[in-house]
Amino acid sequence: MSDWRTRLPAVTGHRLFWPVVALVLLLVANAIYRPSFLAVEVKNGHLYGSLVDIVRLSAPLILVALGMTLVIATGGIDLSVGSVVAVSGAVACLYISRQPDQNSLGSVLVALAIALGIALLLGLWNGTLVAVIGIQPIIATLILMVAGRGLAQLITSGQIITINSDPYRMIGVGHVLTLPFAIVIALAVTLLVALLTRRTALGMIIEAVGGNAEASRLAGIRARRIKILVYVASAACAAVAGFMMTANVSSADGNAAGLWVELDAILAVVIGGTSLTGGRFSFGGTVVGALLIQTLTTSVYAMNIDPQTSLLFKAMVVIAVCLVQAPAFRARFRRRRSRGAAPAAPVGENRKEQVAA
């Protein structure tokens, strides 16, 4: 009895508590609207169901948001991820479309390698602008956000490149061990990035740079290198997301691929509790944030909400989550509640309640 009472504040105070609550509430609402929503079944050795779909569809966003988390942790921001998605998808599809045998695994791998390489260069460009030349991150990456779109259209010659490659399509819609391949990729990248940052000192060093860049420099941290590294990592994540998105539809559209994904990614990071001012970051939070955003999108379609109001619906949920996470809002809410609960209570009572809340 006293056990859960002491533990409860620790749970409700956790920075992932409210995003998870919002996610669960959305899922419950969907389940009420359509009871089959929660059903997961195995068909032809593949896992099927709305829940699986949500995770599969959120895979590209999770990837982009992971890279974004690293960038934001250093106090930066990367607006160019959407364009990198478009460029990498376009490069991969263009290369494959030129091959005599589009189903050759070898040429698909070459296509992926070329596209990934170009994405790394784009990340290096961002990192150089920010860390070496010293342009503010929002401006530096805005340059590539605009130029990258143009680059993607140049690559596709303004057309939509359609390909017919089974190995490539596999990235978007294939299955491995009953699981959609996209989920496996997202899971693998998440684990890889988490291991790279938390098993080494990279995570702490990124947090130090984001928390106090000058103090980090004076402590001997090569802040410049770290910053370049996170922009390169962000571009790499965006490239893999680009493969997924284009593989999903077996075509590359330089204009539409990854459009506005940077905003969803930033949102996912913020919902996940990583501060835009840099410092402490949480991959777990980011993944929950990305899942929440995708669940919202899916719910809007599943519940037949008028597409014209769907953005509004999405915005309201996001505002609610951000509000309950905001310290100022919570403090105000708490004060009001304790005042309203016991207006005539002696001071001691009031105090206890505040501590408990």
């Binding site: 098993r199 080494t200 000192a201 990279l202 702490m204 060093i205 947090e207 130090a208 928390g211 106090n212 000058e214 103090a215 980090s216 420099r217 004076l218 402590a219 001997g220 941290i221 090569r222 770290i226 410092g279 402490r280 001071v347 105090r351 501590v355």
Partner: protein, 514 residues
């Protein structure tokens, strides 16, 4: 004084934070036309009391009355409107706005929504003239020294019809002239009937200006005393709650084994090292086991010298040799590779990463030197951190607490610990004892003596001459960005002589004349 009723009374104020009693039944009175010093070590509850008073925090118990009427401010704005103004330790103004704008921000003289700029400038000039401050009010605030910024903050505070003026360590970054100017302004305001609550770590200033002293310790009231009836040593005893003989014990060590140190191998030798626009070329040698004190006024180039040794700024003239070999130190990393460590005077902006834990802050430099691919094993981290938390008595002794939650003295110890685990051979300490309590100060001074006895070279910078003289083998004096002379710290050297050199810039000439 007692014939007038107090303008402000705080009765039985308590404030709790999770796990901490920051204030426990504290009483405080403030009379009109007095300067009242609020004293206590870091963590005694001074800042909390001020924040409760100005409404930053709500009190958990107790009452506040202003002019006999109970008040409860919901924030500093409301407190200011009621006549309780605060000037904080770190200037809370916008350096990117003009002086006049800073003074009138939020209450610009205007008409129909438009600002009457000329009127604003005129009133700002008049206000500053009252404080004997003759500066261009159209200039950006950031272009002025910290001292001027501080005075502008005070001008802003008193212009809003303040009856209570709270000065929270306003002098910690000022030099002695500026302090004198500030004291003059404080006296003037006091004579005008304003009640001034003054928080400072400098005992001299307290005895120079305060009428009464209230002492806090560990969140409790120790007592309220007329300054004349409380001798300095009694005040220190009340603040730390134990007799302090460590300072005297250190005194006996001054001027120790200077010859041996001079004979030791030099760790660093600067020859005509300089950086244009920052510090004129200087030569300075620091030997193994030697403590070199760097004295001079604020802005005389003390910090700039330190930064050149560490590579925080890059020297553009002269040579630097480490262990007798020429070394080009192009940045902090190059300095750290040569076992040079630097504790900046700005703990908050250049020292600590506030969000990270005590443990992470302590291992930061060591980790940076190893590179991110080779993390310091967790067991070794825990062992190092535990050892230094114990050795430097960092409180609270919780390695996982965010470092910003620690008091100033403990934060300083965290920065020190960070560098000590890198086992430096030259330790540069820039104002390591500024703004921290006497207990922690003594501990840090003792540590410097111990480290140099063990062979570490130390460059010790402090505005407090007593401290420099107590610890150093020799004292280098800075003046107007020149290193003017080196003084051997023997029996003949005292604070007065150093001050004369700082003031005149020449020791030799004076001797000749004498």
């Amino acid at each position: 004084m007692s014939d007038r009723p107090p303008v402000l009374t705080m009765t039985a104020i308590s404030k709790f934070f999770p796990g901490v009693r920051a204030l426990d039944g504290v009483d405080f009175r403030l009379f009109p036309g007095e300067v009242h010093a609020l004293m206590g070590e870091n963590g005694a509850g001074k800042s909390t009391l001020i924040k409760v008073l100005t409404g930053v925090y709500g009190a958990d118990a107790g009452t506040i009355t202003l002019d006999g009427a109970p008040v409860s401010f919901s924030g500093p704005m409301q407190a200011t409107a009621a006549g309780v103004s605060t000037v904080y330790q770190e200037v809370n103004l916008c350096p990117n706005l003009s002086v006049a704008e800073n003074i009138f921000i939020g209450r610009q003289p205007g008409r129909l929504g438009s600002v009457r700029w000329r009127e604003m400038r005129r009133r700002a000039s008049a206000l500053l003239a009252r404080l004997d401050l003759d500066i261009d009010v159209g200039e950006l605030l950031g272009n002025y020294s910290l001292a001027v910024q501080q005075m502008v903050a005070i001008a802003r505070a008193v212009d809003v019809q303040a009856r209570v003026l709270i000065l929270d360590e306003p002098t910690s970054s000022l030099d002695s002239d500026e302090v004198a100017q500030l004291m003059r302004i404080m006296r003037q305001l006091r004579d005008e009937g304003i009640a001034i609550l003054f928080v400072t770590h400098f005992l001299d200033q307290v005895y120079g200006i305060a009428d009464r002293i209230t002492v806090l310790r560990n969140g409790r009231l120790v007592g309220e005393y007329p300054t004349a009836e409380l001798p300095q040593f009694a005040l220190v005893e009340k603040m730390i709650g134990k007799e302090l003989d460590t300072l005297e014990r250190l005194d006996e060590r001054a001027g120790r084994d200077r010859a041996a140190v001079e004979a030791a191998a030099p760790v660093v030798e600067a020859t005509d090292l300089g950086r244009s626009g920052s510090v004129a070329p200087f030569s300075l040698t620091i030997h193994r086991g030697e403590v070199v004190g760097l004295a001079g006024l604020l802005g005389s180039g003390r910090t700039e010298v330190a930064r050149l040794f560490f590579g925080a700024d890059r020297a553009d003239q002269g040579r630097l040799a480490v262990d007798g070999r020429p070394a080009s130190i192009r940045g902090p990393i190059a300095a750290i590779e040569r076992n040079i460590a630097f504790c900046s005077e700005n703990r908050r902006t250049e020292g600590l990463v506030g969000e990270l834990s005590v443990r992470e802050n302590i291992i930061l430099a060591l980790q940076a030197a190893r590179g991110w691919l080779r993390p310091v094993p967790r067991r070794r981290q825990d062992e190092l951190v535990r050892r230094y938390i114990e050795a430097l008595s960092i409180r609270p002794a919780d390695p996982d607490m965010p470092v910003r939650n620690l008091s100033g003295g403990n934060q300083q110890k965290v920065v020190l610990a960070r560098w000590l685990i890198t086992e430096p051979r030259l330790l540069i300490l820039d104002e390591p004892t500024r703004g921290i309590d006497i207990g922690a100060k003594t501990e840090i001074q003792r540590l410097v003596v111990q480290l140099s006895d063990d062979g570490m070279a130390v460059l010790f910078i402090s505005a407090e001459l007593e401290e420099v003289l107590r610890l150093s083998h020799k004292v280098a004096v800075m003046r107007d960005r020149h290193l003017v002379t080196e003084l051997a710290n023997d029996e003949s050297l005292d604070a007065e002589r150093v001050m004369r050199v700082i003031a005149s810039g020449a020791e030799q000439k004076e001797r000749d004349e004498a």
